[in-house]
Symmetry: C2
């Protein structure tokens, strides 16, 4: 039976999730944790079985076999991009009382295909395209977690014909999973992700591909710079081919600009002592500084909003616990904590982030207690 | 008075450090922590005063004013790349009993210029080019720390005329600062850093520069992918112009390959439904996968040598300390620890890295103690 959301803010279920990979199973886990009835389906029987086994929901196939007629208030299409529009169109027809959302990472191509699907356009008022800005380098339901969306932006792209009620229900999904809803048009969304997601992805892959045949002694010198730049090059090619194809026009416009800058840099490096060469290089680096300074920190906090200090920790069991117990005694909240140590070495570095106003106080307090604060 | 190293393994000092920025001051701090006499000099009076004040060494200017004739066993040239060869040549002439090393991040250009400096070539047996693979996004002596080099590779590039004794003394510097010496030729070094350091730097800057004029709503969606790819775009343009100029020939060869791949990708994205377009994209992504898999983990450990698990932590004071105390009770060593939480949210995620064989045991142990292990 279809149920309306209470004051438009919370889902009451049932929710049907089509596609039980990382995102679909994470949505199932998150909604199950709120006590909602979640029904799952995936084209792969083993994927949907794993999703059921980890507690992401019960299976649509089982419900049907038991003669139940599932009537969801919300259908979440969490399939690969290529089939998203088709599955969403089918869901609009199959569940005439449900709101249908998809969570595909490109939005205009999906909407266009959906509206062009015979029979679906008449039902499109119940459709809202969405995109949770969350993911992992791992895929599949095994990697799913209920908390995947906590604190992350969740874009809602209502189209001209979306019913306000449908948009509210889509927003409830985001809110119920702990995400922060952000409304924008499909065009705004696709331009934004071309820049902040698809550009870094292809550039990371371009850099990493250069490493394929490099000598081992070169790679043994690699530091955090290379590690960070190439981390997302580990992403799934099958998924990314679909994403890049669906947003090709917007990404290529950005890549023209990258190519212009790259050609300018190559020209400069071919004759590094020429007049103006150093100025050209300095300008590229400075433009990079300016752009980098605009990237928000974790959880949408402004860049560099926390102050860091580093504490030396002997690499013996219990030392980290002792440090954190004593930080607890100071009453100062640690916003981020990172421990680094080399296996076999005697000392580790604990990096603590605190509000800038508390840094000095924490440094003094820890120093008094005998800790070596190195920075 | 010049002192020989004991069995060629440890420095005994004095050590003269020319250039008191991040690296010079860190070397001073590290050697002072071993009890060595460190003498500092910098072309900027305020820089050398700060370095002295943080305990990185005493000042050459003060020693000279007191009538002392400083006679170092080792001179470390830690100046910007542009003046490294000149300063090293002067040091070889000024301190005829000292071994002279530099720590510049390009090696062939420095060696070539040094050997071409009138009078210096005759003393070049006492010169060894080196490069510690350590640094920070911050610069200046204020950011210095004695532990900067701990566990990091330190490349030693002996040239054809370097005396074995000089190489041993350079190696002692690396070892005394906790680094791991790696011997290679200037050519091998410069090719390696073009690939693992200069390439990611310029590409990070190219991506970040695209963000300069982007709308704020786009940047508000940014995730860890963009953050990681653009982090090093915050680096100092003045320093990097010198580095890029000095290794321009090797870097540009790599960038030709990047340009070829970028052009292929642009062609594919211009006509994403053409035959072979998807295969082209998949190939780029797969090549990125292969290259990324070759990047070693932190501290030179093989990629993915640790297993991770994530624990939910209530955001109240003392919870992290409690978690780490209880992990201490399990006797399982945590190799890396990272806490993430959103300001204002009720829950944080603590990510723990352990040896893969201990993951299951730790998960079960923490679950028994009432912790929610989500992965």
């Amino acid at each position: 039976m279809t149920q309306r959301t209470e004051q438009g803010t919370h889902l009451t279920g049932p929710v049907l999730v089509l596609g039980a990979g990382l995102l679909g199973a994470s949505i199932g886990l998150g909604l199950r944790a709120r006590g909602l009835d979640v029904v799952l389906s995936d084209s792969s029987p083993s994927t949907e079985a794993v999703a059921r086994d980890i507690g992401a929901g019960r299976l649509l196939a089982d419900a049907r076999a038991a003669g139940e007629r599932v009537s969801p208030e919300l259908v979440v299409v969490a399939t690969p991009p290529d089939v998203t529009a088709r599955v969403a169109a089918e869901a609009l027809l199959a569940y005439p009382d449900a709101v249908v959302v998809d969570i595909c990472s490109v939005k205009e191509a999906v909407l266009r295909e959906l509206l062009a699907t015979p029979g679906a356009a008449a039902h499109a008022s119940r459709y809202v395209g969405t995109h949770p800005m969350a993911g992992r380098e791992k895929s599949g339901p095994v990697a799913a977690r209920a908390e995947l969306f906590t604190g992350a932006p969740w874009v809602l792209c209502a189209h001209a014909g979306s019913a306000p009620e449908a948009v509210l229900r889509a927003e409830s999904l985001a809110v119920d999973l702990g995400a922060v809803p952000a409304r924008m048009s499909v065009e705004e969304h696709d331009e934004a992700v071309a820049l902040i997601s698809h550009l870094p992805q292809v550039v990371s892959s371009l850099v990493a591909s250069r490493l394929q045949d490099s000598p081992a002694h070169a790679l043994s010198l690699a530091g955090n710079g290379l590690r960070d730049v190439t981390r997302i090059a580990a992403s799934d090619p099958r998924l990314w081919v679909q994403i890049l194809s669906a947003n090709a026009g917007r990404l290529v416009e950005i890549l023209y600009g990258v190519r212009d800058d790259l050609n300018r840099l190559i020209g400069t490096l071919e004759d590094p002592t020429a007049g103006g060469a150093r100025l050209d290089m300095a300008q590229l680096m400075s433009e990079g500084n300016s752009g980098q300074a605009r990237v928000p920190g974790k959880h949408g906090t402004p860049p560099n909003s926390f102050a860091r200090l580093t504490v030396l920790v002997d690499d013996v069991p219990g030392q980290i616990a002792k440090l954190l117990t004593e930080i607890g005694h100071t009453g100062i909240n640690v916003e981020d904590f990172r421990l680094e140590h080399s296996p076999g070495r005697e000392v580790g570095l604990a990096e603590l982030s605190v509000l800038p106003g508390r840094r000095q106080e924490l440094t003094e307090s820890l120093t008094r207690r005998g800790w070596k604060v190195v920075q």
